[in-house]
């Protein structure tokens, strides 16, 4: 029977923490990784700022989804739509 060997868990250092940030934000870390990452954040003076910056990037990127089409492009899409509709009417599937 093989025996589980006890390996003391080394703490996460900042250099490793920055590589875990995306996994953390995407909820893709294992429970153990997550715990170690959070334990590091709790006492690190700088990594919480790094994490906060990444959160800002993601939040602001998600805010810019909608582009208003220029009136000209709007017209082009409407005319594309009408051409398609007329084609369909002439030549239905």
């Amino acid at each position: 029977m093989s025996r589980l060997r006890f390996r003391p868990r080394r703490e996460v250092v900042c250099r490793e923490a920055v590589e875990l940030v995306t996994g953390y934000l995407e909820d893709a870390l294992s429970q153990a990784q997550r715990r170690r990452f959070e334990a590091h954040l709790a006492h690190c003076p700088d990594c919480p700022e790094y994490l906060a910056q990444m959160r800002v990037i993601v939040a602001l990127a998600g805010r810019i989804t909608h582009d208003d089409l220029t009136p000209r492009m709007q017209e082009e899409f409407i005319s594309l739509y009408r051409r398609w509709r007329d084609d369909e009417a002439r030549d239905p599937l």
């Binding site: 250092v13 900042c14 250099r15 490793e16 920055v18 590589e19 940030v21 995306t22 996994g23 995407e26 893709a28 003076p45 700088d46 990594c47 700022e49 790094y50 906060a52 910056q53 990444m54 959160r55 800002v56 990037i57 993601v58 939040a59 602001l60 990127a61 998600g62 805010r63 810019i64 989804t65 909608h66 582009d67 208003d68 089409l69 492009m73 709007q74 899409f77 409407i78 594309l80 739509y81 009408r82 398609w84 509709r85 599937l93």
Partner: protein
């Protein structure tokens, strides 16, 4: 599967509402151009590919069965057109871009910050700064290497789930996360160099 955010617009397009079609176009045109640009040699060709994709969408929308979200279906059509028009097909993370996301010189020998990140995250509370930042973020995303740009655009800008991104780009979840991680990290660097207090 969570409800498709475009469900209502799709129904309206099917019912003959041209305004709903223009609305969908407004929502996705920019991201589509950005994605298409990654496959073809010029912006002009990318525009053609996007136009063809929209025509494909109109032709197929009556038969679209909603087994995936509309946007997944839309971007699949786009990527397929782009591949047949373009040059790129290989979709793995380039090995030359696998170093650490923060320069090793920022850490001491033990791995602790030697040059900690310049704080700027709290500036987002100022609406004016936040708007400026958002514009810079969008520009920084556009400058990312192609594969990172695709993933960040679809996931963070368009708000797709990881599953949707993987389905559109035909990549593994692990690959997707690596690209997202590297892309976001680069964007953070750009924003930090412009909005950090010390620079």
């Amino acid at each position: 599967m969570p409800e498709d955010p475009d469900s209502e617009l799709v129904s309206r397009v099917r019912a003959g509402d041209e305004g709903a079609f223009a609305e969908l176009a407004g929502k996705y045109q920019r991201a589509m151009l950005s994605i298409a640009r990654g496959y073809v040699p010029s912006s002009a060709v990318a525009e053609e590919v996007v136009q063809e994709a929209w025509i494909g969408v109109l032709r197929g929308i009556g038969r679209f069965e909603r087994r995936s979200s509309f946007r997944t279906w839309l971007f699949r059509i786009l990527v397929n057109r782009a591949i047949s028009a373009g040059v790129r097909e290989r979709r793995s993370v380039p090995v030359d871009d696998m170093g650490p996301v923060v320069d090793a010189s920022c850490f001491d020998a033990g791995g602790t910050w030697r040059v900690p990140p310049d704080p700027w995250a709290d500036q987002v509370d100022d609406q004016v700064v936040a708007a400026k930042m958002a514009a810079r973020i969008l520009a920084a995303i556009d400058e990312l290497p192609i594969q990172q740009r695709e993933v960040v655009t679809l996931h963070d800008v368009q708000g797709m789930s990881s599953g949707e991104v993987c389905a559109v780009l035909d990549i593994s979840n692990a690959n997707q996360r690596v690209l997202l991680h590297r892309g976001r990290s680069k964007v953070r660097q750009v924003i930090g160099s412009e909005f950090g207090r010390g620079r």
